[in-house]
Structures are given as structure tokens and as C-alpha cells.
């Protein structure tokens, strides 16, 4: 047993997700199975191994700082669940 219901609650809070008690139980079960499986990595000695982000050398992609056209405001707001004038509308966040 690597994780319990408390861990699931904690991780769910971090991930901004909520679950029913039934879902949480299933999660604890699935989570432990998957984590036990990935524990297999502990068999590998990586003491002197560097991490890899990419398989081949990658360099920062730099470009001139030029003004270019970007998406129109109407297009940006096209999919907004709630909007007013040229803004996204959200619930009140400050008192």
C-alpha cells in the first residue's frame, strides 16, 4: 500500500478535482497497482546517470523581437464560457 484515501484527497486538491467516496476507493486501488508497477524502476541503478529531457541536443529557439499580428480579440473570446465586452467574465475573486 503506497497511497491511502488521505493522499488521494491531498492530490485531488492540488489537481483541482473532486471525487465521490466510491471513486476515491477505486482510485486508491488503481493508484496502488500503478505505483507498484512503476516501483520497478527502483531496480535500476541510476547513481551516475544524468537526466534526459530530449533524445538529441536541443537549443533555445530564439527569434527577433518583432511585432507580429496575433489572434483577433473576437477569435480569442469565441470559446469563452462567459464574457463581457472584450473580457472573460469570472466570479468575484477579491473582497
Amino acid at each position: 500500500m503506497i497511497v491511502d484515501k488521505n493522499t488521494v484527497d491531498y492530490v485531488a486538491k492540488l489537481a483541482r478535482l473532486e471525487f465521490s467516496d466510491e471513486e476515491k476507493e477505486k482510485f486508491v486501488e488503481d493508484f496502488n497497482k500503478i505505483l507498484e508497477f512503476v516501483e520497478k524502476l527502483n531496480e535500476v541503478n541510476t547513481d551516475d546517470v544524468e537526466i534526459s529531457i530530449s533524445a538529441y541536443p536541443m537549443y533555445n529557439a530564439l527569434r527577433e523581437d518583432e511585432v507580429k499580428t496575433s489572434l483577433d480579440v473576437e477569435k480569442v473570446l469565441l470559446n469563452a464560457p462567459d464574457k463581457e465586452n472584450n473580457f472573460f467574465r469570472v466570479p468575484k475573486v477579491v473582497d
Binding site: R16, F31, L41, S54
Partner: protein, 481 residues
């Protein structure tokens, strides 16, 4: 007509034996007839006929057109096309309309492609059976009781069932090659960085790569010609010369060194699959390839590395879905945090949530070193092992999938069982290598695919071997649907 290859159809279009409009109508009729059974499409674009008519005008005016001009195709529903919905088969994006074209779509349009619709997939490309779609169940054209594989199940099934001439999918851990194998079509995952990911909805950015589903290897070469190349909008796309991949067709395979990694033929591979792969290897030998056994022991850790890295990246990439700027927003909520929580919990399906949770856990304080960093270190060892193998051989072959198409529900209740479907394909994504799945036979009347893995940017060498074996086998790939 429905089962012709794209290059055959191109020749008919050029000889004016058929028009693009007629061809597009034939595909629409075919979709009307078989998609009620196969359910590959999430949406058919009726305005595709307008594109076809424009292409016909150009053909009639004698204009020299690209290979793919006027040929109907489909895109996986995680690739953005301006003015069209892109849903990732998720409730989260059910009504999302893309304000721009993905680079691959821009390139397809430049090549005159007739984009016929959006194809079903596992939600946010997470899955190996397309059962995780929030909208419909795509069926395998060879047996409607079985899955088409995933996550690009719709893209594979639509090509296999003769609904379109080719399609695009995306491959993060096998999501092109595995469904291609299960549906009896060619599925190509190019080298990481070959094809721009701009406009592909991100799942795991260090692993995702777009590639084609086609009816034969020559078509794969044509589609790669159209979509490969550096793009300033994707800083991970690589500035490597894009050759004409068709020059790699019809090559002698004499002296080509092919490695068989013994770990990919061991436990967990079905006997029927093994038998077909072994037959294919005999064919390669007959064609003059020098086949030898190699060992890639680090591959056994690839699936663990994959589920940590892919889930971690997914948890970060999918943080953008908060119900504010686009996507699903819950109806009732108490405050801003509750809006995030309810929108995400109601909008995402269970596998997506499972991976976000796993990734969030792997990246959380106190566990980051044990999981994420450890996985990146083992990734180094997997890469090094492949690099060393390619000092001795040109190509590596293995089964694509450990089994043929399985039944609905057979693996969906146990995530780990489902994850094992990707055991042969996942190491390739971790190393960022190119690979194809090419049909080589049938087991219990269901298609079996051979995976051919190449060195970085050696897509051409893969095409030569795949084309050689395809010609030698000359399989009948027409499901009765």
C-alpha cells in the same frame, strides 16, 4: 474504388478519369453506408465538397498539383482546423471551435487535401482502445465486436473501412502504430521533431508526434512529404532536410542489417501474433536482409517511465482547462476555486482524471525525485541503449502490439492491463525515434502489424524495408464491413 490507395487515386485524378468532387461524394456515400457500424467519424465536413470543386477547377485548367490534391482524408479530433470543432473526444471541449489551423492542417490545405471530417479517439489521446471517447464507440472494421485500438482508433478504422484514403493521428506511446496494427493499415510515427506539433492539443509534449494512417507504404511516403519540416511555431521541430520519401521505395534490401530485440518477443506476446511476425522475418531474410538477434534490456522499464512522464506532462498541460477562457464551465459553483474544481471534475472523463492525478502525485513535493527525476534518468539509459543498438543495425523490428484486436470491455476495467497494450511501442516514444506499423498477416482473421524502428530522422530506411515486405506479402486488406 473505396479501397484504392491515395497514389492510385492521384493517378486517376491526373488522368481526369474521376474528379475530386466525384471522389468526395463516393467517400460521403461510403461513410453514410458504413459509419453507422464503424462509428469512426465525430463529424463529417459537408463543405469539403467546395474544396473538391476548387481542386477540380485547377485540374481542368491544367495546373500542376501536389500528390495529395483532391484526395479525401480525415483528421484525428485533437488537430485544430480553423472554424471547425476540435473536441479531443472530451466533454471538456464539446463545443470548442478552433480559431486557427494547426501547421499540419495548413500544410494539408496547401497540398490541396480534401479534409472530410474529425475522427474519434480516446479522450485527450489517453487510451489504447478508443473506449475512452466521451461520445461514441468506434468499432474494428474486421470485427465489429472488437476495438480498433487507440488512441487514434477513428483515424485507423476510417482508413481500414474505406471511408477516406488516408488520415492523420497522433502518437504519444503507440497511438498511431497500435491502432494501425489492429486495423490492418500502415501507421507511421515520425522522429520527434519531424512534424510540427503546433495546433495539436497537447497530451505529453516531449512524446507527442503527428503521423499518417495510410493503406500502403507509398502513401505514407506521400503524406510525410507533405507534413514534415521545421516550423517556427514549434520550437521542438527540427531543421533537418526533408527528403522526397518516395525515393526510398523499391530499394534492394540486400545487406540491410535488421535487429530483433529478444525482449520484444518474450512473455506477454500472443502466440498467433508471434507466428505472423516470425513469418515476416523469414520474408525479410529472403529479401536479402541480414537479421540478427539483439538485446534491449532497458525496454522492460519503458512502460514505467512512460506512465510517469506522460502523466506528469499531462497533469501540467491539462491545467489550462479551468472553465475560464474556453471549454466546459460548470453551471453551479460557490467561488472561483469551486468553479475550477467543478468544471474540471464534470468535464474530464475517468481515465483523464486518473492520469492527471498520477502526474500530480509524481510531481508533488517529496515525490518529484523518486518518480519524475528517476524516470528521466532511466529515459537516458533507454536512449543510450537504442543509440548503441543502431551502431550495429540499420533497423529494429518487433511486433507492434502484443495481441490482435481485443473485445470491448476486455481490458477497460483494469488500467494496468490496458497499459500493457503499448509495451512494444512506448520505448520508441521515450527515445524519440521514428517507427512504422505495417500489416504482415492475420491471426484468427484479425490483422497483425510488424513494427519497424529506425534511427533518428531515418524515416527513409524504414520506408524501404516496409515497402519491401509489403510488396513481398501482397496481403488482401479489405474487411467485410
Amino acid at each position: 474504388m473505396h479501397f484504392k490507395s491515395a497514389h492510385e487515386v492521384r493517378d486517376l485524378l491526373r488522368k481526369k478519369e474521376i474528379s475530386s468532387e466525384e471522389l468526395t461524394k463516393l467517400c460521403l456515400e461510403r461513410i453514410e453506408k458504413v459509419d453507422a457500424k464503424v462509428e469512426a467519424f465525430l463529424e463529417v465536413f459537408e463543405d469539403a465538397l467546395d474544396t473538391a470543386k476548387e481542386i477540380d477547377k485547377k485540374i481542368l485548367s491544367g495546373e500542376n498539383l501536389p500528390d495529395l490534391a483532391g484526395i479525401p482524408m480525415g483528421i484525428k479530433d485533437n488537430i485544430c482546423m480553423e472554424g471547425k470543432k476540435v473536441t479531443c473526444a472530451s466533454k471538456m471541449l464539446e463545443n470548442f471551435v478552433s480559431p486557427y489551423d494547426a501547421t499540419v492542417v495548413e500544410r494539408l490545405k496547401k497540398n490541396g487535401a480534401v479534409i472530410l471530417g474529425r475522427l474519434n479517439m480516446d479522450e485527450f489521446a489517453m487510451g489504447s482502445s478508443t473506449e475512452n471517447s466521451a461520445f461514441k464507440k468506434t468499432r474494428n472494421p474486421y470485427d465489429l465486436e472488437r476495438v480498433p485500438g487507440g488512441s487514434s482508433g477513428g483515424s485507423a478504422a476510417a482508413v481500414a473501412a474505406g471511408e477516406v484514403y488516408y488520415s492523420l493521428g497522433s502518437d504519444t506511446g503507440g497511438s498511431i502504430r497500435q491502432p494501425a496494427s489492429l486495423c490492418g493499415v500502415v501507421g507511421f510515427k515520425p522522429t520527434y521533431g519531424r512534424v510540427s506539433r503546433y495546433g495539436l492539443v497537447a497530451f505529453a509534449s516531449s512524446l507527442d508526434q503527428i503521423g499518417p494512417f495510410t493503406r500502403d507504404v507509398e502513401d505514407a511516403a506521400l503524406v510525410l512529404n507533405a507534413i514534415c519540416g521545421k516550423d517556427d511555431k514549434d520550437s521542438t521541430s527540427k531543421d533537418v532536410a526533408v527528403e522526397d520519401f518516395t525515393t526510398y521505395l523499391n530499394k534492394s534490401l540486400k545487406g540491410v542489417k535488421v535487429g530483433l530485440p529478444k525482449e520484444y518477443f518474450g512473455e506477454g506476446i500472443d502466440d498467433g501474433v508471434k507466428k505472423e511476425i516470425e513469418k515476416a522475418i523469414e520474408v525479410l531474410k529472403d529479401l536479402g536482409a541480414e537479421v540478427k538477434q539483439i538485446s534491449l534490456p532497458m525496454s522492460q522499464y519503458a512502460l514505467s517511465v512512460y506512465y510517469i512522464l506522460a502523466s506528469s506532462e499531462a497533469s501540467s498541460n491539462l491545467a489550462r482547462f479551468d472553465g475560464i477562457r474556453y471549454g466546459y464551465r460548470a453551471k453551479d459553483f460557490e467561488d472561483i476555486i469551486d468553479l475550477y474544481v467543478k468544471s474540471r471534475s464534470q468535464g474530464f472523463g475517468s481515465e483523464v482524471k486518473r492520469r492527471i492525478m498520477l502526474g500530480t502525485y509524481a510531481l508533488s513535493s517529496g515525490y518529484y525525485d523518486a518518480y519524475y527525476k528517476k524516470a528521466l534518468k532511466v529515459k537516458t539509459l533507454i536512449i543510450n541503449e537504442f543509440k548503441k543498438a543502431f551502431e550495429d543495425v540499420n533497423l529494429i523490428v518487433s511486433p507492434t502490439s502484443p495481441s490482435v484486436a481485443f473485445k470491448f470491455g476486455e481490458k477497460s476495467s483494469d488500467p494496468l492491463k490496458m497499459y500493457l497494450s503499448d509495451i512494444c511501442t512506448v520505448p520508441v516514444n521515450i527515445a524519440g525515434l521514428p517507427a512504422v506499423s505495417v500489416p504482415v498477416g492475420f491471426s484468427d482473421n484479425l490483422p497483425v502489424g510488424l513494427q519497424i524502428i529506425g534511427n533518428y530522422f531515418k524515416e527513409g530506411e524504414i520506408i524501404s524495408l516496409a515497402h519491401g515486405i509489403e510488396k513481398a506479402l501482397n496481403l488482401n486488406l479489405r474487411p467485410n464491413v
